[in-house]
Amino acid sequence: MKKRVRRRMTRKERGENIIGYLFIMPQLIGFVAFVVFPLFFSLYLCFAQWNMIDMPEFVGTVNFEAIFRDRVFWKAVGNTFIYIAIVVPLTLFSSLTLAILTNRKLPFMSFYRAAFFLPMVTSSVAIAMVWMFIYQPESGVLNSILAVFGIKNLPNWLQDDKLARFSVSIVSVWLKVGYYYIIFDAGLKNIPQELYEAADIDGASPLRKVIRITIPMLSSVMFFVTVMLFIDVFGMFNEVFIMTGGGPDYSTYTLSMYIYFYAFRQFDMGRAAVASWVLFALVGIVTLIQFKVKKRLVIE
């Protein structure tokens, strides 16, 4: 009797096993074919030279030496950090501020929200074109507005090597704010109202409430947002590629563009693979820091 029960269980289990694998089969095949295999292959490519027709040829660390000697590569890495220094705080600050400001009853609320969300759903290629048009040095609307305020030396937003990064970053922030606004907005709704009421009784000022209650209570969300932003910035491509093509003097060049250039313009797959792993390592480090530091900083 006992035996029979156990056997029936195993059959059911076996059935579940088969069904389970059947269900995950498409994704599992895709996972092996489009994630696991490419991952190992690109790791191998880091140490190989390959013309993509014949078999890849193992060359040791040649690609690493080439890339670490390359001025442009370091410039791309440096730019990535400059982008982070501009985009991350700006996006964080503006989306959080907007979320806090709109966390109450206001007239035209749905208009604001629609306005904040709209940039994030539009194609970055299309919108980069619009911004390029706005940034035009001679016939751009931005410069003509500045001219109205009597500014004489009108900047050349996308062709000045000191300004171009900033101009591109603004577009990037503009594209992202809506997304993080929603996350913060949801986070704010989760803060218990009693905390504020208690603070009101103590007569705390609004700013104090933000610093003492809102920010600590949102720390977990802020952490998540920061990490997402870092990863977003590491992968920046479309806006830059369309607006500046990486110039002037590589001042807006990103790692993604470096990878694209070596992979699909020079067809130097080895070097592109190394660059892509550098990008991966940066993402990995940020994620790791998230896990390590989160425990200490975040109030759950």
Binding site: I24, R104, F117, M129, V130, I182, A186, V221
Partner: protein
């Protein structure tokens, strides 16, 4: 006494509401201005744009730029629309199907290796696309898939770790009792998936569908890499191609008309499904 205090509070509140409205209004205008400028210039007389006219409120509106876009390369725009739509719709439907299947299996079916495989899936969430991009290009070239839509559709359909992750978190919340009740009725797993789970996670499916549709509609780099035939052009490629016209320089009026046409469908979809977007993004933040 109490009444007086309340009144004072209200006054302060009114002032703060006005101040906040001003700040938020400025931010909203900043967000919307590029759209306004895009639409205005798409309707502006192209000659005025060429002369460098940047007045914010001129209304000599014409359809010239739109006509120019529609007649660009014998109506290539329609072709691009159709292609973008084919890619976006097939990859969205495909990814919803496969990732909900897998999510269901990971959440509710007990099979050997379920946990480690799911762990592996999640571990690869953070891998940037650039790393797998090169080998994928090689795979698709060897399969003779370059210059077809397959490289843009198949990877999204066959693997969507984010989708599995998101849908699983919804399916896990479905009480086991519901499924067990179906067990009693002799329901197969497929039937359970189709009849019970799918209807219950409809909001999540819509959210994921929207994201993958928009992601596909807006993606550029993969299109740039894989598509070279003019008949396969997509909206982002068409727009980038409009910029490239070296002989004439950028015809800004026409460009703005094309970008308006590319942004409008997405904006409409978004406005009609705003709720699902907000839900989807908000839950990401909570995880």
């Amino acid at each position: 006494m109490k009444r007086l205090k309340l009144k004072r509070m209200t006054k302060r509140q009114i002032v703060s509401v006005i101040l906040i409205t001003i700040v938020v209004m400025i931010a909203a205008i900043f967000c919307l201005f590029p759209f306004y400028w895009m639409i205005l210039n798409s309707l502006k007389d192209p000659d005025l744009i060429n002369q460098g006219d940047t007045s914010l409120f001129t209304f000599h509106l014409t359809w010239d730029s739109y006509k120019a876009v529609f007649s660009y390369k014998n109506g290539l725009l329609w072709r691009a629309y159709l292609n973008s739509l084919i890619i976006a719709v097939t990859s969205t439907i495909g990814t919803l199907f496969t990732s909900s299947l897998a999510a269901f299996a990971f959440a509710k079916i007990r099979f050997k290796g379920s946990k480690p495989i799911y762990g592996l899936f999640i571990a690869t969430l953070m891998i940037p696309g650039q790393v797998t991009m090169l080998p994928l290009f090689m795979i698709f070239a060897k399969l003779h898939w370059t210059n077809t839509f397959l490289p843009l559709i198949i990877p999204g359909v066959m693997i969507n770790t984010y989708g599995v992750f998101m849908l699983r978190s919804f399916i896990v919340t479905i009480p086991d009792g519901l499924l067990e009740a179906a067990d009693v009725d002799g329901c197969s797993w497929f039937r359970k998936y189709f009849r019970i789970v799918l209807p219950l996670i409809k909001p999540a499916l819509i959210t994921l569908g929207l994201f993958s549709f928009i992601g596909s509609w807006n993606s550029y780099m993969t299109h740039l890499i894989y598509l070279s035939d003019e008949s396969l052009t997509t909206i982002p490629l068409l727009i980038a191609g409009l910029k490239e016209q070296a002989m004439t320089g950028v015809v800004w009026g026409r460009m703005m008309a094309a970008t308006t046409l590319s942004v409008v469908p997405i904006a409409l979809i978004y406005l009609s499904c705003k709720k699902y977007f907000v839900q989807g993004i908000a839950t990401t933040g909570m995880k």
